[in-house]
């Protein structure tokens, strides 16, 4: 890891270890799940140049899969979360294969259409419980040893999952695979002429992004013991775009910062009802007009180092 980025990572990890003793742990866990979701989304758009407008599909499907596995099949939490991740990855393969065939705005529209289909499927399917969602999902015993009903135990599990996912994304971005992906984003015909199968690279990035979004979704289902339609609705897809845009598209730490800010704002403004939507909209508008690099992006620009 580049020197300065390692320092930032260490600071972030430390802050997160101390966090639950300072802040309500459930809030932090929510922020971490969404941070992982945003990082996964950023992999696709920031580094792959592909705007997916239906990313909630992976968060939500994994949530339902994990909730079902933990509650109905009685699986322990680690297997349930893995099941959710696998489901999201599978979905990523199918949707990715269909969407990759088109570019730009049409790619975004296909992902949106397929995500909407999935939403209505989940609305109707009996196992999801429709508007009720899957409730009373047991937290279970991690690896048969740690009782996850203890909030701190749950928190550190979530933190471990987040850090693992984050590091995986970091490795991916800074690997040869990541470089080719960036090359494809910059100039696809040239990459093709150099012999790289652009479609395969894009598909792998897509599936990876979907799988990690699923990891976030499955973990969230265990933390909140609930899987609901909110997580597959298109407004959730909009939220992750917001987090990534605000934090900084194509930066390493941007999505984490973006997620923290958005979740924090939502919590803080919750008693004010629909002001949350207004503030979110205002952030979108401001970011697009004046703040395109996002928080971390602007910081990186100032420091002249990649963040």
């Amino acid at each position: 890891m580049a020197g300065h980025q390692a320092v930032v990572f260490a600071l972030m990890a430390l802050a997160l270890v101390v966090g639950p003793f300072v802040v309500y742990p459930v809030f932090l866990m929510k922020a971490l799940c969404f941070a992982l979701f945003a990082c996964a989304f950023n992999l696709l758009i920031g580094y792959g140049g592909l705007l997916s407008f239906g990313h909630a599909a992976y968060l939500g499907s994994a949530g339902y899969m994990t909730a079902h596995a933990a509650k109905v099949w009685g699986w322990p939490p680690e297997l349930a979360i893995l099941a959710g991740t696998a489901a999201a990855a599978g979905l990523g393969v199918v949707i990715g294969a269909l969407a990759i065939r088109r570019q730009g705005i049409y790619f975004a529209m296909i992902t949106l259409a397929l995500a909407q289909m999935l939403y209505f499927f989940f609305l109707q399917a009996p196992f999801t419980g429709g508007e009720d969602g899957i409730q009373a999902v047991p937290r279970g015993m991690l690896l048969g040893l740690v009782d996850l009903r203890n909030p701190l135990a749950m928190y550190f599990t979530v933190l471990a999952i987040f850090l693992a996912g984050f590091l995986l994304i970091y490795r991916t971005i800074h690997s040869p695979f990541g470089q080719v992906l960036k090359a494809i984003r910059e100039n696809e015909p040239r990459a093709l002429s150099l012999g790289y199968g652009a479609d395969q690279y894009k598909l792998i990035a897509f599936v990876l992004s979907a799988a990690l979004s699923g990891l976030a979704g499955g973990t969230k289902a265990i933390v909140f013991q609930l899987a609901s339609l909110t997580d597959v609705h298109w407004t959730m897809s909009g939220e992750v775009v917001l987090m990534t845009l605000l934090g900084g598209l194509g930066t390493v730490f941007g999505p984490v910062v973006g997620a923290m800010i958005v979740i924090g704002l939502e919590s803080y403004l919750a008693q004010l009802g629909a002001w949350v939507t207004v503030v979110q909209g205002a952030i979108f508008v401001l970011c697009v007009l004046a703040f395109r690099r996002g928080v971390v992006g602007e910081l990186a620009h100032l420091l002249r180092k990649p963040l």
Binding site: I105, Y106, A113, Q280
Partner: protein
């Protein structure tokens, strides 16, 4: 019995589908016009539709002006709002990636919807069917409310009028030329930026008209545009982004297909549009009537 369903059920659902289709057609028309000329995906369209309905509500509650006045005044009012939006905000994004236009209009939609939701709650305000149009006609297989018949007639009229202006008049030809080559058209002395602004305003006005028509039957509700907008996008993509006739035909057509689905497989009625969109995008990405770009 047709295909195992009593014809009454079939025809009545098809007629309902046609009514829904009118809204799809009008809304997708506005979106298509905007995308065709500005290359902007106007995500604010749902909020602008809602604004049209609210203006109609305010005109009735505040000033006592009914449906007919609203049909005239609401599009003008909301159209002006659209012009302001375009001048102040959208113009700055013309050189950038389409993504930013999408995100900006998405954000604006959130702001407008959030503000209205704060002020008016989300359970809807009542708006009565105009007295001239109450009652219904017994068509044999169902009673068709007069107002809903009016919706079909009026929206067809608007759609065809718009198509005529764009495809068959001089103004329309300037518009179409500016879409293909703004620089050249500007060189000929046509004020292209003003045309763009007015076109955006016009597209927004179309959304507002749809809102006024919707007020008596769909409840005036801050969130009325939110879920509708996604469906309308699907219609535009299927019809072909930028194709006027495509939006009209697809809008009505999709309404009919939705109505049919409600007869045979009601649970899928919300999904069928997206299935079709995914299929069309895979086979003919420019849409059924669109031109490849």
């Amino acid at each position: 019995m047709i295909l195992g369903i009593p014809p009454q059920a079939l025809f009545s659902q098809l007629l309902i589908g046609l009514i829904n289709g009118s809204f799809y057609a009008m809304l997708s028309l506005g979106l298509s016009v905007i995308f065709g000329l500005l290359n902007i995906i106007n995500f604010t369209h749902g909020a602008q539709y809602m604004l049209g309905a609210f203006v109609a509500y305010f005109l009735l509650q505040g000033v006592g002006l009914g449906h007919w006045w609203a049909l005239l005044l609401a599009p003008i009012a909301v159209g002006l709002v659209g012009v302001l939006m375009e001048r102040l905000l959208l113009q700055r994004l013309y050189g950038l990636d389409h993504l930013y236009g999408l995100l900006l209009t998405f954000g604006l939609g959130l702001i407008i919807q959030g503000l209205f939701r704060n002020s008016f709650g989300s359970s809807g305000l009542p708006y009565a069917i105009p007295s001239e149009l109450t009652g219904g006609r017994n068509l044999g297989f169902m009673v068709l409310p007069n107002y809903r018949a009016w919706v079909i007639v009026f929206s067809l009229a608007i759609c065809l009028a718009t198509w005529f202006v764009i495809e068959r008049t001089k103004l329309g030809s300037y518009l179409r030329a500016a879409t293909e080559n703004p620089g050249l058209v500007q060189a000929f002395g046509v004020n292209v930026p003003r045309m763009i602004t007015l076109t955006y305003g016009f597209g927004v006005a179309l959304a507002a008209v749809a809102g006024v028509l919707a007020a008596p039957i769909y409840q005036v509700n801050p969130l009325m545009g939110a879920d509708l907008i996604i469906v309308v996008f699907a219609v535009v993509v299927i019809g072909g982004m930028g194709s006027i006739m495509g939006s009209i035909v697809t809008g009505f057509g999709l309404g009919l297909i939705e109505g049919l689905t409600k007869v045979f497989y009601p649970e899928a009625s919300n999904t069928v549009i997206f299935v079709i969109m995914a299929l069309v995008l895979l086979v003919k990405p420019a849409g059924l009537f669109g031109r490849a770009q």
